[in-house]
């Protein structure tokens, strides 16, 4: 052993390091163990929060080790690279060997092979060898698989196999991991993720990405027509709904009401319902009419913001009371007419008749407060995601192939015995689930023995 090691070139040693399963097990365990850290230390929080939890020295140490964003740290990524390289090298090393074995199976049951097989049976038959060979081949075809027939030195070997695919399971699984990583890298390089708030009635065509450092141009415009919140009778939230329009060249090209778990997609960019809130303060809805009842229009008064009315003056909403003098919700407005002192009065919700008593040229009717909402959307483009799903599908298929299929092989050797009878040896092996194969082999034994009788 020692001599052998000394003769290995450094290249071979590096190669042997990368193709070892020991390394694979070690990386799996180390990845598992270190991953725990990031679940105990909350990730990607503002520094102030960490300072509250940790002493200065602990903060410095954890920061130094990148443990506040460990899954994107150089050392963690390096481990993933090592893991992938190991996976890749193992495949390159073992796959061709496996392929060779599968392509050139040992079709002859020689004595060396026979010794390695635990399931064997032997018997003798009167009659001629080719005839029995034909009968046994037929029996194998019927109950197992069509055998390959080889004649050497007067002996006839039958070889049949099923479940060869199980040998590929492990490679499909390993390949799937590499495919998932490729998909993830593509998504990170070519895609983007961002978050944006859109107030009702407003639109956006750019989204801040990479923590707000960059503005990503969408190539089209998205408008939030409305946001609504539905609740269960108990008051718990039932649905967050955003009515979104996609606008291109001034035209609405798509419209959808999205909820959580039902996003909008346009040109590969997805919009996910993520958050909501009140956009700015509430506005008071006030309708205006002439004294004779002719409607003039509607005002939306934000707190203390002056709104001019042509030929009349400036109106401001200055105060709101939930229950004004026991009558109900009311809005206090201030009207400034040119050359006159400012007048202040209250408008009770839904009671324009009360305002008529004020004897002015215009009559105001307070329709209530309405708060404008904004919707919070996750915006994502991920051109690698379908590659990731392909990898995931392959992984499940590969695992099923590897764990639930078994490469089962059966040999029969027929030779002319010294006593003039035909000597028959039946042998079998399975790559996994040997208990189940033993039962199958027993059945096969009786089936083959009974052939031609």
């Amino acid at each position: 052993m020692a001599d052998e090691k000394r003769t290995l070139s450094p290249m071979d040693r590096v190669w042997n390091f990368f193709i070892s399963v020991k390394l694979a097990i070690l990386t799996l365990i180390v990845l598992a163990a270190t991953s725990i850290l990031g679940t105990i230390i909350e990730q990607n929080q503002p520094p102030e929060k960490y300072h509250k939890i940790y002493e200065d020295w602990a903060f410095a140490l954890l920061d130094r080790l990148n443990l506040f964003d460990m899954y994107h740290s150089a050392w963690f990524l390096l481990m993933l690279v090592l893991f992938t390289v190991n996976l890749f090298c193992c495949t390159i090393d073992r796959f061709p060997k496996m392929l060779k074995v599968v392509r050139n199976p040992r079709t002859k049951l020689d004595e060396n092979l026979e010794k390695t097989l635990s399931l064997t049976d032997r018997w003798k038959k009167k009659g001629n060898l080719p005839e029995w060979a034909g009968k046994y081949a037929e029996a194998l075809s019927a109950s197992f698989a069509k055998p390959k027939v080889t004649e050497v030195d007067g002996q006839v070997h039958l070889y049949a196999e099923t479940g060869v695919a199980s040998r590929f399971g492990v490679y499909v699984t390993h390949l799937s991991i590499i495919i998932i990583f490729i998909g993830a890298i593509l998504g990170n390089v070519l895609g983007f993720k961002g978050y944006v708030n859109i107030p009702e009635g407003e639109m956006i065509s750019k989204v801040p990405v990479r923590g707000g450092i960059l503005m990503q141009d969408l190539g089209f415009t998205v408008r939030c027509n409305a946001f609504s919140l539905e609740t269960y009778p108990s008051g718990q939230p039932k649905a967050y709904k955003s009515d979104l329009s996609v606008i291109e060249g001034g035209r609405e090209v798509a419209r959808k009401t999205i909820v959580v778990n039902d996003p909008l997609q346009h040109k590969g960019i997805w919009f996910y319902q993520s958050s909501y809130g009140q956009a700015g303060g509430a506005t008071a809805q006030v309708t205006v009419s002439r004294k004779d009842g002719t409607p003039m229009g509607a005002l939306a008064l934000a707190a203390n913001e002056p709104v001019p009315i042509d030929g009349y003056g400036i109106v401001r909403g200055v105060n709101y009371e939930q229950n004004f003098q026991g009558i109900g919700p009311a809005l206090q407005v201030v009207v400034e007419k040119p050359g006159q002192p400012a007048a202040s009065f209250w408008l009770v919700q839904g009671r324009p008749d009360l305002d008529r008593q004020r004897t002015d040229s215009l009559v105001f009717s307070f329709g209530g407060l309405s708060s404008k909402m904004f919707t919070g959307l996750q915006v994502a483009k991920d051109p690698g995601v379908n590659i990731v799903w392909l990898g995931c599908a392959l992984m499940v298929i590969g695992l099923i192939m590897a764990f639930f299929l078994s490469h089962q092989r059966v040999w029969v050797r027929l030779a002319q015995g010294t006593d003039g009878r035909v000597e028959v040896i039946l042998a079998g092996s399975a790559s996994r689930n040997r208990l189940a194969f033993e039962k199958r082999f027993e059945k096969l034994q009786t089936g083959v023995k009974a052939a031609g009788q």
Binding site: V21, K22, A24, I25, L28, I29, L31, A32, S35, I36, G38, T39, I40, E42, Q43, Y71, A184, K193, Y232, S234, Q236, P237, K238, A239, Y240, V259, V260, N261, P263, W270, Y272, Q273, S274, Q378, V379, A380, D382, V385, V388, W389, C392, M395, V396, L399, I400, F403, F404, L435
Partner: protein, 279 residues
């Protein structure tokens, strides 16, 4: 809530079954454990009915949804899966001694469930998805398989110690041979692993559809990956490096501890998207 009454009955049945299996071991009387099997089968019927009734009752309340969406429901679903998985194993291996090691897991899970809020709450918007069904069912079949593997691993460790000392008396003497236990530790994991993998994938697909990110290193996701890595290490050690017996059994127990952490620990100790433990 008639479903809760049925679940309480299930808890009692699991307790009785565990007692019968352990009693059979203690008294070295195979006949007692036959009753254990009947009680397990009855519990399977009752708990399945309970899940059905709970599902139906949620529709009666106008918030119809699958009963696997909060801690109480997930615990009873886990116990339900363990019981079913156990019955399959018992039938296949024709050995009832596993019951004394696996059914207590189901029993204590139910006891824990009883201490949690059992009311049927409506689904928050984030959980309203068809992915919920595929995700929860695959994960829990995986968890149940790992639970069975861990129970058998414990049996193995007891049995192996005795075989080393060349004693075949006492309670442990009734346990199946080491070789069989060792095989079952592995076999349960090769069922659990593809289901866990499918559970992680369906979770990722769901997250992608709900938030636009299939992986965000949320503590739950990370712990599911840790569990996956531990069992992946187990499979590699077993298949290519011939890790059998004691080392394999210990690794199976480590894997199950990680599973418990992933399933309960994350919710009860850490914070994240799956924080049903808080409510």
């Amino acid at each position: 809530m008639s479903n809760v009454i049925l679940f309480n009955l299930t808890t009692v049945l699991f307790g009785v079954a565990s007692g019968l299996y352990l009693g059979a071991l203690y008294a070295k009387n195979e006949k007692i454990s036959v009753f254990g099997t009947w009680v397990c089968a009855l519990a399977a019927v009752v708990s399945t009915a309970a899940l059905g009734v709970r599902w139906y009752e949620s529709y009666q309340m106008g918030i119809g949804r699958i009963p696997v969406t909060n801690l109480y429901e997930s615990l009873v679903f886990f116990a339900w899966s363990v019981n079913l998985f156990y019955l399959v194993v018992e039938r296949k291996y024709r050995n009832r001694t596993f019951g004394g090691f696996v059914m207590p897991i189901a029993f204590f899970t139910m006891v824990f469930a009883v201490y949690n809020d059992s009311s049927i709450q409506p689904l928050v918007p984030a959980l309203q998805s068809y992915w919920l069904h595929a995700h929860v069912i695959t994960c829990f079949v995986g968890y149940a398989a790992f639970a069975v593997s861990a129970g058998v691993a414990l049996m193995y460790l007891l049995k192996a110690r005795q075989e080393e000392a060349k004693i075949s008396e006492g309670v442990v003497g009734l346990l199946p041979a080491c070789k069989m236990l060792d095989d079952l530790v592995y076999r349960a994991i090769i069922w659990g692993f593809p289901f866990l993998t499918a559970g992680i994938i369906t979770g990722a697909a769901w997250a992608n559809y709900a938030w636009g990110t299939y992986w965000s290193w949320d503590p739950k996701e990370t712990w599911s990956l840790i569990v996956w890595l531990v069992y992946a290490a187990f499979l590699h050690a077993r298949v290519t490096r011939g890790w059998h017996g004691k080392r394999a059994a210990i690794l199976s127990l480590v894997g199950f501890l990680a599973t418990i952490m992933c399933y309960l620990g994350v919710n009860l100790v850490l914070s994240g998207l799956h924080s049903y433990g808080g409510g």
